[in-house]
Amino acid sequence: MKLFKLFRRGSAPIARERLQILLAHERNTCKQPDLLDVLREEILALIGRHLSFDPDKVQIKVDRGKSVSTLAVDIEIPNSHGSSGIDSQSGRSAAELLRKDAATAAEQKVA
């Protein structure tokens, strides 16, 4: 019976699950629209205090999952013996540059 069901399963269950995950995140975002902004700003400000990096060489990736989401902040840090380039001051402005509306929260549980 289960096999029969599986065999006949259309694409609607996939659509349903994708929508449930997406809408759970979007509704959460409405309640706390700037959580990721704040996180991102503070993470980059913290790193900027200790290391120099080019704000253009920061990649932020999210993957919103059903029970767990991931937030990856990928910062390219030049080797210190190379030309130093950016000071910690611009590290801060990197954080400010990257402020704004995005959508998810790291490791945020969805009910």
Partner: protein, 276 residues
């Protein structure tokens, strides 16, 4: 990435909602990328984005078009690369802003930067004739007008053609935006029985060249359910073959327009692709 002069900006527009702009943007974008060209699809439906969902990238959106325009994010940070086709990229719309967040200068800059990186920039227009729609068409070299064979859709397409001839940058320079018609949700048997406007009726009324005819098919719904363009999800299906043919025409080939059918006969399975 090296500069290419051949970049082409194409707006997918219609006036009326629900005719298949987003589905067609995704299907054509994927088919173009499949042919080896570098493609970006840009969602201009600020506040009501859906191209991310149709492409199955909704979980991965971080930055969007409005962020790039406002300088919050750099363009490469906002582009999302498709997981299946490495030549296909998405620039999502913002979900939280409204269409007034799109400024003419901002959009111009983004389009100019995209031109240096991609062969095709496909702009998915929102329905209506307001700011989102006019910004989506503003810098277009060519337009694909998506129309259902139905009176209100044809009327709205006519209105959009008028805007393309007056409100675009090309029109203001005294040039013409290339316009081609994509008829979607077509039922051959209904048209044959006289229950639906025929292709000839629509072409006579709108008098622009035909890019393709996409038959009504459950495959389109199935593809959007799973978040994959129909040209990727089921390339052998009738709508996918129609989109592949449309892409060949978009790239300048002259091939006769046919409506691929979903025939299950062994002959069609073996030879249908070639015949279409």
């Amino acid at each position: 990435m090296d500069n290419k002069k051949s970049a082409r900006v194409v707006v997918v527009t219609s006036g009326k909602g629900g005719v298949g702009k987003t589905t067609s943007t995704a299907a054509l974008g994927a088919a173009l990328a499949h042919s080896g060209d570098k493609v970006v699809v840009v969602d201009f439906d600020v506040g009501l984005r859906n191209l991310d969902l149709v492409l199955g990238a909704e979980r991965r959106v971080v930055f969007d078009l409005v962020n790039v325009i406002h300088g919050v994010a750099k363009l490469p940070q906002a582009l999302i690369r498709d997981k299946r086709l490495e030549n296909l990229h998405l620039l999502p719309a913002s979900q939280t802003r409204d269409k007034d967040a799109l400024t003419e200068d901002g959009v111009a800059k983004v389009i100019a930067e995209l031109r240096s990186k991609f062969d095709w920039i496909i702009c998915d227009s929102p329905a209506g004739i307001e700011r989102g729609a006019t910004m989506a068409m503003r810098y277009a070299d060519a337009a694909i007008i998506v129309t259902n064979p139905e009176v209100s859709s044809v009327r709205d397409s006519d209105r959009i053609i008028g805007l393309l001839d007056s409100k675009t940058e090309k029109a203001e320079r005294g040039e013409f935006v290339d316009k081609q018609l994509l008829i979607t949700r077509f039922h051959p048997w209904r048209a044959a029985r006289g229950e639906m406007l025929s292709i000839d009726d629509v072409l006579e009324i709108l008098s622009i060249p035909l890019l393709g005819i996409i038959p009504e098919s459950e495959e389109v719904l199935r593809a959007s359910n799973v978040g994959s363009p129909v040209t990727l999800n089921n390339p052998a299906s009738a709508p996918a073959r129609a989109y592949f043919d449309a892409v060949r025409r978009l790239k300048g080939e002259t091939i006769p327009v046919q409506v691929p059918s979903e025939s299950r006969g062994i002959f069609n399975k073996l030879f249908g692709r070639k015949a279409a």
